[in-house]
Symmetry: C2
Subunit: 386 residues, 2 copies
């Protein structure tokens, strides 16, 4: 096991009616900016529940944060924060709203020239404006970690940021919100969380026995609840397991002491930036090709995953590993998620070269858990996904 | 799944040479009280490593905190804290030293009449003096939770305390410390951590699929590393898995959203208070009898544990459940741990009645995960363990 540091101060309020307890977690005499997305919270009743819970606070609202939170939109919110002298941010939404709020928490206290530098210059945020979240869409794990991904349409870029100052003070996880989520988003959420675990697990063995088993536990749980959630999102038991699994998939715990990969995400972000493909679906497109291309490096963990998660106990390491890739693809398919780039765009020719060019321009080299993959490898992986 | 709140702010520094990084975690210009036990840290080099890491700080020492941290001894340390105007406590030791330090962190800021009230009146500590730990004996999980157990010889009592103000600011977990731990303590540590998981798991099914699987992951890992650790405690890979498993067994995570039991501990504490039996060994004495006595209430989880942890897949629920109890007892035995009270004292007659009397006197009723066990049940369980 590698050395590691771990700290996660976010307070989780999990379960039915936990929105009611919001106000206890926000410092009194603070002006609150409530941030949300396209307005689905006004249809499903969460908007009213949150406003009721905030009684006694001065609340300003900012709606309209899009999926793949857009820099230009967030800059409008930043202006509002300064004009209104906001002291606390409350994200009510999924990963996009929460990530956008993290950017604002950082940008509000940023002393540099332009907040875009936080992303392009990899500036770690050690102190941000305090914020909390009410999660309405389990998927990204953003509700209990300190990372965010921000998009800028102007430059067709999608870049990551983070730092210890960007953990939410609290996050409300009420699984009843799941009943009003469209099937497409549920499938995306399951796929996103599943791939988060794979990025931290599908590398090489390092005798981190407990981390491996916890990763496998999350994968097994997602496989077990997926058909139940798709069939009936008002199944509270399955919804609870789904929601907690998504959070645990990316709250930092399972990556401690082990090598991680994250190349599937790095490539996937480009597909979203280029074609607007749903984030989770880009992961389902890239992961199988990535595992096939890097088969030798990953086959031992693939075989362990085959045995423990998919109960494939017959065959050689190679056979089990190959079968595991097939099973993974079939799992995504079972959620209605296609796993080829050509399923999403007719315009895919040249994508591999374009992404490789972008990686080269940014100096992204030494990728994957062995830090040995180059933009040329990336080009080949993307071509395999056509 | 039940509603829950979860927050654990302790920062973990895990791995080789992490003691060196201590000083970054302690506020500068603070007078530090370094607390330790019987002095084994002076033999294995940890004492010197810690003092070196604390260069630049004004450090006062207090050694001699005994196993089962004793109230009278801790009151001497409390006097020293006040006399020396201490601002930060550093526990260097196992669960006893850390628990003792938690008591001091609470007592140092306690406004009531006598600090013993914290224990007898169940006063939750919301703010304590800040403290960190250097763990030298994996077992209790105290390094990443906010609970403590304190003993008072004068009254032969062993009582629990806790509160959100008693999380360590940081804990250093360096698995190399394990190589100098005597076999008896290693066996105790494995047994203690194993039973911690059982107390939070061996109840009834509540569809908390992920929590169940994480609990099973810790149990499987402990079973896998136990023989390696006993055979060669300098096996760093096994030591790492052992240390992290002990921490994860009782850092609050696996108990969230599920019923918990803790009656094995409540009874075990009395056996230690009465006969001085090692804490872990009292758990190994009581757990099998407890599971046999409450077989009907626990058989479904016992059978799940049988199948997933011990790979017992044949037979009825009852057969699997019974086999699981046998396997558990054999596992403790394999570590050199006896599982009958008469193995530890010839004086056991009357123990059951005495413990039942103490429970009755404290008004302890409605025990176990169903809150339906009485001192009379406790008496029967203890008798079964003779």
């Amino acid at each position: 096991m590698n050395n590691f540091e771990y700290q996660n101060p976010t307070k989780i309020l999990f379960g039915k009616n936990q929105i009611e307890n919001l106000s206890k977690e926000i410092p009194s005499n603070t002006k609150v900016l409530m941030l949300y997305g396209g307005g689905s919270i006004k249809k499903n009743g969460i908007y009213e529940q949150v406003l009721n819970a905030l009684e006694g606070f001065e609340v300003v609202e900012f709606g309209g944060i899009p999926a793949n939170p857009e820099y230009a939109v967030l800059m409008e919110a930043l202006e509002l924060i300064k004009k209104e002298n906001i002291g606390f941010l409350l994200a009510v939404g999924g990963g996009s709203v929460i990530d956008g709020t993290k950017f604002l928490a950082s940008a509000a206290l940023f002393k540099g020239e332009t907040p875009w530098d936080i992303l392009t210059q990899n500036i770690r945020t050690t102190k941000g404006m305090p914020f909390g979240t009410v999660l309405t869409l389990p998927a990204t794990g953003s509700e209990m970690n300190s990372g965010a991904v921000i998009t800028r349409q102007e430059t067709k870029e999608k870049l990551a940021m983070g730092g210890p100052g960007l953990f939410p003070q609290f996050s409300v996880l009420d699984p009843t919100v799941i009943q009003s989520i469209p099937e497409r988003q549920l499938a995306n959420g399951i796929t996103d969380a599943f791939t988060h675990v794979l990025e931290q697990y599908m590398t090489y063995p390092i005798d981190a026995l407990l981390q491996d088993r916890i990763s496998e536990s999350i994968l097994q749980t997602l496989i077990e609840i997926a058909p139940k959630i798709i069939k009936d999102p008002s199944n509270y038991k399955a919804a609870s397991d789904f929601m907690w699994s998504c959070t645990m998939a990316l709250n930092g715990l399972i990556q401690k002491g082990v090598p991680t990969d994250w190349l599937v995400h790095a490539i996937g972000h480009e597909l979203t930036a280029l074609y607007g493909i749903d984030h989770a679906r880009t992961l389902a497109v890239i992961a199988p090709s990535h595992y096939k291309y890097n088969f030798e490096a990953k086959k031992e963990k693939l075989a362990q995953y085959a045995a423990r998660v998919w109960n494939i106990t017959e065959g050689s390491v190679e056979e089990k590993a190959q079968e595991a890739i097939v099973k993974t693809e079939l799992f995504f398919n079972s959620l209605g998620i296609n796993t080829k780039l050509s399923d999403y765009t007719k315009d895919y020719q040249g994508t591999a070269e374009e992404i490789a060019k972008r990686f080269t321009a940014r100096g992204w080299n030494g990728l994957g858990e062995h830090k040995n993959l180059t933009p040329t490898d990336v080009e080949k992986i993307v071509k395999m996904s056509y």
